[in-house]
């Protein structure tokens, strides 16, 4: 019986079996940001410990970075204190820092892959749940808490239990106007927000094999929203083509040996899985969330489902969602007015996301609806530069979008980009939790960047396939 990538990479990185019954796993790459690291460094200092592998540790700042200005000190003194703490910590411990002051920053899950730091067959961790993004390269990537960040700084290892593996196949071909984000939201809807607890997800099948790396990252990014501890895709030519020539990718002289290693960690054809589930791509529509969990979604042509659509034990959460969103069962999701449109985040803040939106907006010749505030927030400085090189900054601003500096922005309310009051936001981000976008009563509708763009232009939730005549 063969092995899955999960088993192979896990075994490669196993250091010891711990008395707790957990395994000690070596982490090949540790990414840091300003929110979850300061207390970890303090704890390290209190214990008189050093960073064990500074050369395997990289940092950037993303959550608190304002996207409307590059000025220091940051207006928010708390944010400035955090950025200052990160600068002091990386300097003290000899850690490479992609700094906002040098305009090198990006969302950690956009930056790592872009630099070629993220590679197949690695273990990767970061004090951020969306670390699952890096699984797109065939790595095992785990979001961790601050005490674990300290552990990895001190030892480059983590204590972890062994997980089950669920292989999720999406076969056939997606219909035009259906994107990786729709696949992610569809899978979470079908498998549930707690369906992945205890599992790592292996994504496979025709659709995933044809996906670009950007699309694979969007899908793996939201594994955590489905409750899975990590998600990955077996590396292939698409992966290797993406990596070739990137700054931290293996050199030409090591390339063939690197590819041999990467191929060796692919799941075997006869690998044993704890579960296999299959979906047909043609069943997937552009998806929109209507509730307060990423699983509460519906196809754009559908309605907010009634209570009878839920098993008894999910009805309480559904009722809470109706109340919070002020939506009623049976109301069509299309036509819901939006106040804000946000395109960006570690889910959909990559070059191809904005290129697709630029193409659609240009084709439509339309402008952002007068009552809508629309934000374009590149995931990194490199993405921003590439968009400017293509003239898309002008295209976006001419069409009524704000074109911003890179950062996490309106995904999570730790910087000046926030919803106000009961505003409804069409968002390409990953979480529609209560209060997630900065207003305790703000409302989030998750969707693909194309659908966000359609909502921005129409002023309400609209089927992007019709508005942009996608055929």
């Amino acid at each position: 019986m063969g092995k899955s990538l999960y088993e192979k990479v896990f075994e490669r990185h196993a250091v010891a079996l711990l008395p707790s019954g957990q395994h000690q796993l070596f982490m090949g790459l540790h990414l840091l940001h300003e929110v979850t690291s300061p207390q970890a460094f303090s704890s390290l200092d209190e214990r008189g410990l050093k960073v064990a592998y500074p050369e395997r540790t990289f940092a950037t700042a993303d959550h608190i970075i304002p996207t409307h200005t590059k000025l220091r000190p940051l207006q928010d003194s708390l944010a400035e204190e955090m950025l200052g703490a990160l600068e002091a910590n990386v300097s003290k411990h000899g850690i490479r820092f992609f700094s906002p002051s040098r305009q090198e920053q990006g969302i950690v899950h956009v930056l790592g892959p872009e630099l070629g730091l993220t590679q197949p067959g690695m273990t990767i961790c970061c004090g951020d749940s969306h670390t699952s993004t890096h699984g797109a390269f065939g790595s095992l990537a785990f979001g961790i808490g601050t005490s674990q960040v300290r552990d990895v700084l001190a030892t480059q290892t983590l204590a972890m239990g062994k997980l089950k593996v669920r292989r999720i196949e999406v076969n056939g071909a997606l219909r035009p106007g259906v994107y990786a984000k729709d696949v992610a939201l569809y899978l979470i809807n079908k498998l549930g927000v707690k369906g992945g607890v205890g599992f790592v997800y292996e994504y496979a099948g025709d659709v995933i094999e044809r996906f670009t790396m950007d699309e694979r990252m969007t899908l793996c990014n939201m594994s955590i929203e489905g409750g899975a501890r990590a998600g990955y895709i077996n590396p292939d030519e698409t992966t290797y083509e993406f990596l070739k020539g990137r700054r931290f990718a293996p050199s030409a002289e090591n390339w063939e040996r690197a590819v041999a290693y990467w191929n060796s960690v692919r799941s075997d054809a006869d690998a044993k899985y704890d579960e296999v589930v299959r979906f047909d791509a043609k069943d997937i529509e552009p998806m929109v969330t209507w509730g307060i969990t990423p699983g509460q979604s519906v196809g754009v042509s559908g309605q907010v489902p009634g209570l009878d659509a839920f098993p008894v034990n999910e009805r309480e959460t559904a009722e809470e969602a109706y109340r919070y969103m002020s939506f009623e069962a049976g109301q069509p999701i299309a036509g819901t007015p939006v106040n804000v449109a946000f395109i960006g985040s570690c889910t959909n803040g990559r070059l191809s996301d904005f290129e697709e939106v630029a193409r659609l907006v240009q084709k439509s010749g339309r402008k952002v609806a007068p009552n809508v505030r629309a934000l374009i927030v590149p995931g990194s400085q490199d993405v921003r530069k590439a968009l400017i090189d293509r003239g898309y900054d002008k295209l976006f601003t001419d069409a009524g979008f704000e074109f911003r500096e890179p950062g996490c922005s309106m995904c999570l309310a730790m910087n000046p980009d926030k919803l106000e009051g009961r505003q409804i936001c069409a968002s390409s981000s990953n979480r529609n939790f209560k209060g997630r976008q900065g207003s305790p009563s703000g409302r989030t509708l998750l969707m693909s960047p194309a659908m966000v763009a359609a909502a921005a232009l129409a002023g309400s939730v609209t089927d992007a396939r019709q508005l942009f005549e996608i055929q």
């Binding site: 070596f26 708390l78 961790i144 290693y261 309480e316 209560k434």
Partner: protein, 206 residues
């Protein structure tokens, strides 16, 4: 005197927070993560949920004087989903008298790991047990909930339940040796060996 890190019996009153899929943004809103320490987070536990209920003329259990001083948090399914922020259990640990154990029908995994890291046992019980405990505590908020880690039992008045916890994890709580850094540091030589065998750390020669 050094802190006794052993978790043999945790007993005290409990506070029930109903609902599945309660995420860490709700446990502590992101705006309070703009800090370089964990101190002061306790007062912000469930802040937005509490305010929402207050506006609606209701009361969140964390605002209900009947539950003041509770040490055990009762929750339903997938508690602590979402963001990996350790600030969530750190806030619970600093709320009121300090939450020292959580009993729920299921936990999100990163939340569970974060709790373990700071010595808060996450005790998983079946749905019937979880619901019975919540109902009993709601009926009598003064009820003492006693979690015995030696015997893997929960007692609350006339209610008696068992719970399952991985033997190794339970042992760490009983011994008070849940501090992962100490455990991981002990294997330094093995860590270096593992690193030497990783292809990508060695020019893909390994």
């Amino acid at each position: 005197m050094t802190e006794d890190t052993r978790r043999i019996v945790i007993e005290g009153t409990a506070v029930p927070v109903r609902g599945d899929d309660i995420d860490t943004d709700r446990i502590v809103p992101a705006r309070y993560l703009r800090t370089v320490t964990f101190s002061g987070l306790g007062q912000h536990a469930f802040e937005d949920d509490r305010a929402e209920l207050t506006r609606a003329g209701q009361k969140h259990p964390f605002d209900d004087p009947a539950y003041a001083g509770a040490q055990v948090l009762l929750a339903n399914k997938n508690f602590g989903c979402g963001s990996s922020r350790e600030h969530a259990p750190q806030a619970l640990m600093r709320w009121g008298a300090g939450i020292s154990a959580v009993i729920a029908e299921s936990f999100a995994e990163i939340f569970n790991a974060n709790c373990f890291s700071i010595g808060i046992p996450c005790v998983k019980v079946d749905e019937a047990t979880g619901r019975a405990l919540m109902a009993a505590v709601e009926a009598d908020p003064t009820l003492t909930v006693r979690i015995n880690f030696e015997r893997s039992t929960i007692d609350a008045g006339t209610l008696h339940f068992g719970f399952e916890m991985a033997a190794g994890i339970r042992q760490r709580f009983l011994e008070g040796s849940w501090d992962s850094a100490t455990e991981l540091l002990a294997n330094r030589p093995a860590i270096d060996v593992a690193a030497k065998n990783l292809p990508y750390l060695n020019g893909f020669q390994a």
